[in-house]
Symmetry: C2
Subunit: 275 residues, 2 copies
């Protein structure tokens, strides 16, 4: 069952005039609830604040934190597993694109059942045909304009895949429809730059900031052309709900199991994100 609160009050609905609905005018976060805790909360909090700053949405992050805790308490989920989602929009009102600075942001918190148990099996990714558009102004943040992801995910499903590798209009590797991607060649780890498009995922940040330093492994944030895909030895994808997953094949390109992936999965399971 899904339990929902809007600006701290339990309830299933938002105003039909909300700008989140009208224009996708807001940001969101999805995260694992593990034993009633949100282990990567500090990262989600940072990205939520960054996204609201980028869009000039005057969110009160302390209220958001209180409302999240209240929802967990109201749902009696203090020891539960699940997925918590937070949507912050600019608020309800108006009909045009112009921003009314007096609007009060809408904060929707919802608590969902946990995803199916993680398989340790490597995944095959579809090589997506549709391209992500390039827009540095909207890159990195997790805004609510997600039609591109929806259409890309539909392309994957139609091709018989759960997920797929996505390139931008310049034929550079960006991400999958719902994960970030890391690629390894001769022991050197790379992950795509997200300055032009894509979401800077919380698990990506956690890996770069906390897990790789434990293993004393460097990562290069780089422009990665699609044509260079066969030059990599191993690949993994990551997000803050599913953790780290090895990739065995993308389109026709086959990858080996990588030692760094095993090491990362181990330090992840030993970290505060470990379940």
């Amino acid at each position: 069952m899904t339990v929902i609160s809007v600006n701290g009050q339990l309830g299933p609905s938002v105003s039909a005039l909300d700008r989140g609905l009208a224009f996708g005018d807001g940001v969101f976060e999805s995260m694992r609830l593990l034993k009633g805790q949100l282990p990567l909360w500090s990262y989600h909090r940072s990205r939520l604040v960054e996204g609201c700053q980028r869009l000039s949405i005057p969110v009160d992050i302390t209220s958001v934190e209180n409302w999240v805790q209240k929802l967990i308490s109201d749902a009696a989920a203090e020891k539960a597993e699940g997925v918590l989602k937070i949507i912050v929009t600019r608020g309800a009102g108006g009909r045009g694109y112009g921003i009314d600075p007096t609007l009060v942001p809408t904060v929707v918190c919802s608590l969902h059942p946990p995803p199916p148990a993680l398989s340790r099996q490597p995944v095959n990714l579809h090589l997506c045909q549709q391209r992500l558009s390039i827009n540095p102004v909207l890159a990195e943040i997790k805004h609510l304009n997600r039609l591109e992801n929806i259409l890309l995910k539909a392309e994957c499903q139609k091709a018989g895949f759960e997920d797929g590798l996505v390139m931008d209009a310049d034929e550079r590797v960006v991400e999958t429809t719902s994960s970030n991607v890391f690629l390894e060649r001769d022991g050197q780890l790379y992950t795509p730059s997200l300055k032009n498009c894509g979401v800077d995922g919380v698990m990506r940040r956690f890996i770069i900031n906390e897990l790789l330093p434990v293993l004393n492994i460097n990562v290069e944030i780089a422009a990665i052309d699609l044509t260079s895909l066969p030059t990599f030895n191993s690949v993994f994808v990551c997000n803050s709900v599913r953790g780290i997953v090895e990739v065995s094949k993308i389109g026709d390109v086959i990858f080996s199991p990588g030692e760094v992936i095993d090491q990362l999965q181990r330090v992840l399971s030993e970290s505060r994100f470990g379940s």
Copy 2:
């Protein structure tokens, strides 16, 4: 006062799990209500159906028409002036990007007060610095992913303008933040191609399909580089709420009053859209 219905029932709210709110997963239309009538309804209907087809949203357009009529009746607006807005989303449910084909679309109809009386004064447009991203898959339709328009409108307002001319990432003229644009040089009319980005506006279609033929004037749909802007003699913008408005200046470039603009405003006022 704004009167709202959701799937035909009067009411102010939608599910907090609606995919319109979660991802901007839907389309919308805004149109003038004139003496209780929707004069360009056939055009809005067409674009709504096109948009839903593009996004694979199984909208029942006959129900939408019935709910629009019911809202006008419920609001006792059979002879009223105003702006009617319709939002169609994929419906409520789920947490991920994947499409559940069993979802029932959400249709929000809302009736708003009329905009301030139209000024016949030419407008000055800001020359926007932000660029529209290029994505043919989402071009032309009026989807709910409008953060680019919001940020562009904010740029205009910050610069002291109501609206501004917007270019794409290839430096081609596309539209303004809320209107389509037509440009005239030596008697020949042009309007930007919208295959890469931008909204194919209902007033643009009405002008091309019905008004220009009355005047026996041709228009060329073309790629228009920003650098060519000073070569045009006159410019006008149009949308289905404000009609046709002459542009006197864009950035530093000054335009003359154009005879074709006077003619078009006259035939528009004599058409079924005339107020």
